[in-house]
Subunit: 427 residues, 2 copies
């Protein structure tokens, strides 16, 4: 098909009329489809039903070090959970705290602690006139919501297929001691599915921040969430890299089993240096006596070890892969060659990043919504919900059935075409 950008006004008008008729047909179908959030599908959840049998009333709930998991105690997690999650995160169990059911909660608490008490003896952020975070964007809306909630000024750093623009990151953190952190989803990033290159990770580790209490918030949410066995991204381990670079305390690394077993009923973890752990535990002991050890044990008994977890992730991949491929095929078939949008082709994670023509994202999402297909709000992938180009849209293909997903993706591409035509006609 001819590029829309090379069509005459008349050609554009003709195309638009055809597509509007098509759109009306969709509106008549009373669709109610959702491509907005990175939720596992029912079939994926079914994969983990075995965890409900991992413990029962005849199982001894004593963990390796003799702790009765049923009683109080154990602030930082049971040893066998630290080993399993340590293997998952590629960190030593000694560097890990096992938390409750949500890594988002751990990140929130990490920012909250820095606000009220500061990091390793530095001034509490709430006592400073200005605190800033770098926000590689497009990025994860819930990260940005935390920093926005705490009144932290967010600075957009452009994302590239290799990770954030490191020239900009290096320059900004070196110049401005009000910059206290950066949000990173380093592997199969949300929403583009990019993985930081070796060079990017090494440059992160070698940052020379003006603020001593600058920390990298490294949310490795999709560390083992591959789509393919034969095509996988690799990410250099950041704690090790920081240690080698003489910046051992510069990173907080987060992960969870939310997209491995059951979201909301999994276990979350933080990996960081021993100095940071000591600093954190001074606070944590005031906040809780300990997290849910029975659920930690349940996860260990279910997976046994990291190999068990990897095998489990292959089953997730088998369910997610066809969904990604279905969406990508529809994008290719319906938008390929039209010169009105581009999209990523991740080999892991939960999202596809789509970039529409400048100024079209909000209109596309609204148009899809009107025909019964919910997308993530346009702008959500940027701090303050402000996409400077009104261009980025996050596609979350995991939750709907393949059939529904195909319908939703078809409608989405139709909306992209219509809105792009309208824009071209206005120019």
């Amino acid at each position: 098909m001819k590029k829309y950008t090379e069509m005459t006004k008349d050609e554009l008008k003709e195309e638009l009329a055809t597509l509007e008729a098509e759109y009306k047909r969709y509106q008549g179908m009373n669709l109610k489809l959702d491509m907005s959030r990175g939720k596992p599908s029912k079939e994926q959840l079914d994969l983990s039903m075995g965890i409900m049998d991992a413990l029962n009333s005849s199982v001894d709930l004593t963990c390796e070090d003799g702790t009765d998991c049923r009683n109080y105690g154990c602030l930082d997690g049971i040893p066998e959970a630290k080993v399993l999650i340590g293997d998952m995160m590629e960190n030593s169990p000694d560097n890990i705290i096992i938390y409750g059911n949500s890594s988002l909660n751990v990140m929130y608490d990490t920012v909250a602690r820095a606000m009220t008490h500061g990091i390793m003896g530095a001034t509490p952020w709430c006592k400073l006139d200005k605190v800033k975070f770098l926000c590689p964007s497009p990025g994860y809306d819930r990260h940005f919501a935390i920093t926005e909630y705490f009144g932290i000024e967010m600075i957009v750093v452009p994302m590239t297929p290799d990770g954030p623009d490191m020239d900009m990151v290096e320059k900004l953190v070196a110049e401005d001691d009000a910059i206290k952190g950066i949000w990173c989803v380093p592997k199969y990033s949300n929403p583009q599915g990019y993985t930081y290159s070796d060079e990017t990770v090494r440059r992160f580790a070698r940052l020379k921040p003006a603020a001593k209490d600058f920390r990298i918030f490294w949310d490795n949410a999709y560390g083992i969430h591959h789509l393919y066995e034969d095509k996988q991204d690799y990410l250099i381990e950041i704690l090790d890299e920081c240690k080698k670079a003489g910046n051992p305390d510069m990173v907080y690394k987060f992960a969870s089993t939310s997209k491995i077993t059951f979201p909301g009923s999994g276990i979350a973890a933080l990996a960081t240096s021993l100095n940071n752990l000591e600093d954190i535990k001074k606070q944590l002991k005031n906040q809780t006596i300990g997290h849910d050890k029975v659920n930690q044990l349940r996860h260990v008994r279910f997976f046994k070890d990291i190999e068990g977890m990897r095998e489990h992730m292959k089953k997730h991949a088998d369910l997610i892969r066809p969904r990604f491929e279905a969406v990508e095929q529809i994008l290719d078939e319906n938008l390929g060659g039209l010169d009105i949008g581009s999209w990523t082709k991740p080999i892991g994670g939960y999202f596809i990043g789509f970039d529409a023509m400048e100024g079209c994202a909000k209109a596309i999402v609204a148009k899809a919504k009107k025909a019964g297909v919910t997308m993530t709000d346009a702008g959500a992938t940027y701090p303050y919900h402000k996409d400077p180009h009104d261009s980025n849209i996050r596609i979350a293909p995991t939750f709907p059935s393949v059939e529904n997903l195909k319908q939703a993706a078809l409608l989405f591409t139709l909306c992209v075409r219509i809105v792009s035509l309208e824009k071209l006609l206005q120019e």
Copy 2:
């Protein structure tokens, strides 16, 4: 036996010599006993093993409103958990948020939120020069640890068998708008086992605090934790009472199943007014997508309803009651009539409060420790660990076996006698 306070010096010396020989005998026994923390015993934990079978892989994990408990969502808890916990707390499900595994964590987060964001539009506490809390004492050390951690000045309010000294509470909160809260364990209080009288609760509800953002932190940790079926304390419901008194937003009420099922693997909850809930959810949605719904469902399926929970609590009582009675019998037999200490006789909760002669508590606890019996640190029941009379000691009888407990209590009374004799000899 003659009162120690009426003995001659020679009589005191003779008694001391006898008891010191007895103490040496204990030291030779290499005891390692613990009466320090309010932990359930192994037998109590065994009572809840059935909860491990409440869910399994063949159970549908969909809750009443159609939510799949395995997936993301449901910020404030599943409906059936709100009903169960609502019945437990004597509050409407509409006034409840179900949290994660720890009510201490909820209290901490409640203070933390007030620090960084203020309560219902009031100035964040971290922006104020001074924030104060009233601390009825003796009280719960972990409450005091939270306010101390946040740099909140703690003011001791004396406890009476009817609750805190309400004349003092009323006067202080009316005069000083820096007083933002008060810690309360209103039923079977920690450590004395006192229950606030109807009059006390009504006076709480009718407080006229100078600070609009003053809140009562009502930790009803032992609401259904009776020792007897035929002798129980009753506590007036505080939310209702505050509403009647025109102070609907003045209280945050906390509870959990930590001492009902498994500590650390239970569910915690907050009950408060709709205004407060709205204020809290504005924050909570940034902190988490939701708490562990599968565990909420597990609790509902295990207990079915509040009657099931009450039946379950009777089994706990059957295990705890003999322990309380054993300690009380030993206190009576060994200290009764000596005029060197007094203690409470609670009919619920987890603790017995002991008051030694002024200036003796630290020495008694240290002496017990030397012979292998760990008590809660003397002073722990007061803010900043400073008991102005060095008199109060918390006895936690639930965790040890009855046999061990008897040994520990015997040694404890011996230490009380020796330290009291030493004090009397110095006078």
